[in-house]
Amino acid sequence: MNHRVKTISGLRRMRQSLQSSRDGGRRSLAVCAGTGCQACGARDVVEALKKIHRDLDLESKIEIRATGCHGFCERGPLVVIRPEMICYMNVKPEDASEILTATVLQGRVIDHLLYEDPSTKEKIVHEHDIPFYKFQRRVVFGSNGKIDPKEIDDYIAIGGYQGLEKVLSSIKPEGVIDIIKRSGLRGRGGGGFPAGLKWETCRKAGGREKFVICNADEGDPGAYMDRSLLEGNPHSVIEGMIIGAYAIGAEEGYVYVRNEYPLAVENLRLAIEQAKEYGLLGQNILGSGLNLNIRINRGGGAFVCGESTALMASLEGRVGEPRAKYIHTVEQGLWDQPTNLNNVETWANVPIIIHQGAEWFASLGTEGSKGTKIFSLVGKINNTGLVEVEMGISLRKIIFEIGGGIPGGKRFKAVQTGGPSGGCLPENLLDLPVDFDRLQEAGSMMGSGGMIVMDEDNCMVDMARYFVRFLQEESCGKCTPCREGLDQMAEILNRICEGEGRSQDLGLLEDLSQTMIDTSLCGLGLTAPNPVLSTLRYFGEEYETHIKEKKCPARFCRELISFSIDPEKCTGCGACVKVCPVEAIIGEKKKVHQLDEEKCVKCRGCYEACKFDAVLIQ
């Protein structure tokens, strides 16, 4: 059957008919089938639900939909029942029949699947009342829970491609650029460059052809918002790219996505196919004369390919190495032609801005940072997941209200924002508003939106070493400061962590950092010293203690600690004996155990296994 929509009004009519056939009052059940929930068994939950759905013949009562990521990954698999927005967590396939019979048929809420407030022990029924969701502003990410990413009709029915409709029917390319400029949208990939300005320069650049690229080579450890957007709502990214291509004058687009994101690749591939079938991609889109083809390019696993020029080199089939950007890629990018590259989240913001208006978007956020930002909240945090917040919200609110604070009653120590190129911010900066410029002033950055929370057990020197080692492995090795500098930096940090630090090492680290900032070829080397500089700035005394006293204040660095058993507290339960891999702990049941330091490999197994805090670290 030919589904091709030939005109703009045709799309409008199609949306209306889709909307009327799915009358709003009909109930729906959305199972989060994002990668996180799938890992927790969401696929089985969907199968179980569908089976009972069939068996009980509930077709007319409720529809079941496997959607993209809802964000609350800590409690997956998640099930949300609309229109009431009843939210069930940690759902197992066994719960399927109860959900359908009790909740759907009888309207009874199942208590044990509800969210329980850790402090008040109160059960919360509705999604929007759960603190994790309550303080978010889910502008971009909100649609994820409403649609099946494999169905273009779902996206169109919730108002998808309305932005494109508006642009093609009534706005000139220059007008689109003007809207994006007035909205104040800044690039979500890390640099925070104003998107409208970039588009404008690209439009004005000469050249035989132009390109739009979506950067989905998300490589920061712990960050997965781009992945979840592509998996859960690929059409929003595609729509953004079509609008961008129209504004800039591009006829070809690429999505550069990590090969490690199979579900994102699959859903995107399907989405592109369906969009083509509907005439939303290809030649003469909706009869407007606009041509655009979007291709998927899967990355080969190099972190540096997230850098725009390296990404373009890789797209051309060359080694993914960056080049100098004295001539910008919007003037000479892919195949030396003007190229506009934006990140997944930036593209996904575009249709919303067009649809809701620049003024509406600009009313969200702060002076210099408009709109919302999705963060992946990970590390030592109760509510691990993806959160979308209005710019300007404080770190404290994200971590303690949305994130639910630090698990195990531990004390908050630092939060690393912006991935490996970002910085660690201490407790006294928790009230800092999240905003491109303020984070940068504080020595960190927005980056692509990673947010790693650390507690008192984390050693900040070790943390810096972790990130520097990551970057050392990922440095492409083209320029001297990044290649050699990171190698030396890793060696110095390693030496400090192992208690071999020298008094001049801190000065050397600072000098090295400055050289890398001033002379590195690309953003990777230029921002690589951030983890070191920010920890030196806020946790300098930890470095001093490592070097002068040869001690790790967080009692983490293996070479600087020793383990022993507190005879007062030890109950002789034997839990530590079982986990010790080298038989360093001996003792009879119900008698105080002993730990042989000679044999101990400091794996921390006993420390974590002991329920009575009897394992001491000094």
């Binding site: 030649q283 190099a302 990922e474 440095s475 070829l521």
Partner: protein, 430 residues
């Protein structure tokens, strides 16, 4: 256009498309470089040529080798900050290659007595400047070596570190290497055989295209060879740098139409490129203008047999259409789906992404019947100038800017006439 800028408090006027390093060197100011060579595209990897550039009160550090000059910038080549950075960079390189004289000399010039960094592999002698690789690509055109791995583990070598058929053992990489890290292995050079013939390989001058053909009788010991001695006297440099064979393969623009010297061309305005057993065909830079507004491009199907002068492609553009005949016969073994999907790709990138079909594996006609080398260049230039002359007496660049669409609409019939019905008689008749 000329730019006025200040370098070390001295005002200079320079031409627009110069790099900062060229100007700095011309002024007699010495700044160190390791990865720069005037005959190669700047790489900007060693970072030693970093200088301080201020404009509108903003100061930043840039590498002079690839920084295009700008109006009213203030440049400082030896400020305290620059010197400090340069010292740290040299210290880093010294930690990588402590035994390499070039680096030791740089350290001495910058008064570094002992580097502050630990040298884990003191025997290392490659500074990863990439001069060898770029010479092989940009000067020799052999593309035999490249970088593999990354970070400090990065290294220069042939693909998969096996002996490469691409290497012609010309020795240009050894010649350019500033640290002596690359050494010719005469035994291996001798082993390079002429492919298929089992004959010993010709000498490096033959492979560089300087002498017609010569099989070495000196066991590839060039220092014994009189040809080699003669060439060395003549060029005073490595022969590859004197001839630069790769430069002849760069695409040219003739009256705005792009010409790729390494392809075969035909009167049908179709280029051909032998690829292994097959031949790739596409429309040339001139015919490609007809595809600028193409609505569809109809190509033969895979498996069909294509005969010379039969339809290779049909370009449909609005109410106009044109048939492009094939210059060769053969079985169609592949069709470019990208160009079918977006037909104006044949205009946007006619020689690469916009190719049309592959024929083979055994094309029945001889590709050498087509224009190649110098013949192709002459033919192309004549045709291109003529075509440009059709729409403008001043032979303006037809392909430039937004006007190309208008030009093609206006001159469609003349273009088609000139491109497809005239060529044969005119050229073959003379």
């Amino acid at each position: 256009m000329m730019f006025t800028l200040t370098i070390n408090n001295k005002q200079v006027k320079v031409r627009e498309n110069a790099t900062l390093l060229e100007i700095i060197r011309k002024m007699g100011i010495s700044i160190p470089t390791l990865c720069y060579h005037p005959d190669l595209v700047p790489h900007g990897s060693c970072r030693l040529c970093t200088v301080e550039v201020s404009k509108n009160g903003k100061t930043r550090m840039v590498t002079a080798c690839n920084f295009p000059v700008q109006e009213k910038i203030e440049v400082k080549t030896h400020s305290d900050r620059v010197i400090q950075l340069r010292r740290t960079l040299v210290e880093l390189l010294l930690a990588r290659c402590p035994e390499v004289p070039v680096i030791q000399n740089l350290a001495r010039d910058l008064r570094i007595e002992k580097g502050r960094f630990h040298a884990p592999h003191p025997e290392n002698d490659c500074i990863l400047c990439g001069l060898c690789i770029r010479t092989c690509n940009e000067i020799v055109g052999a593309h035999a070596i490249g970088f593999s791995r990354r970070g400090t583990l990065k290294k220069v070598g042939t693909p998969f570190e096996v002996d490469s058929d691409q290497c012609i053992a010309c020795g240009a990489c050894e010649f350019i290497c500033p640290t002596g890290a690359i050494k010719m292995e005469m035994d291996r050079a001798r082993k390079i055989k002429l492919s298929g013939t089992g004959m010993q390989r010709p000498c490096r001058y033959a492979l560089l295209g300087l002498v017609d053909f010569m099989v070495c009788s000196n066991g590839f010991e060039c220092w014994r060879c009189e040809v080699d001695q003669g060439m060395e006297d003549r060029f005073k440099t490595h022969p590859a740098f004197a001839i630069k064979p790769a430069k002849n393969l760069q695409p040219l623009s003739v009256a705005g139409f792009i010409f790729h010297p390494d392809l075969f061309y035909s009167d049908e305005h179709v280029w051909a490129k032998p690829m292994d057993q097959r031949i790739r065909l596409g429309i040339d830079g001139m015919a490609s203008v007809l595809a600028v507004e193409a609505d569809s491009l109809i190509l033969p199907s895979v498996g069909s047999s294509l005969r010379r002068k039969e339809t290779l492609a049909e370009v449909v553009s609005g109410h106009k259409r044109v048939i492009i005949p094939s210059p060769l016969s053969g079985t169609v073994s592949a069709v470019n789906r990208d160009v079918v999907e977006s037909p104006n790709l044949a205009w946007r990138d006619p020689y690469r992404r916009g190719w049309l079909v592959m024929i083979g594996p055994d094309p029945s006609e001889d590709i050498f019947r087509l224009y190649s080398g110098e013949n192709a260049k002459v033919w192309f230039a004549q045709q291109a100038n003529h075509l440009a002359g059709l729409c403008s007496k001043r032979k303006r660049n037809v392909c430039e800017g937004q006007s190309v669409r208008k030009t093609v609409r206006k001159h469609w019939d003349e273009f088609v006439e000139q491109l497809f019905h005239q060529g044969e008689e005119v050229l073959h008749g003379k």
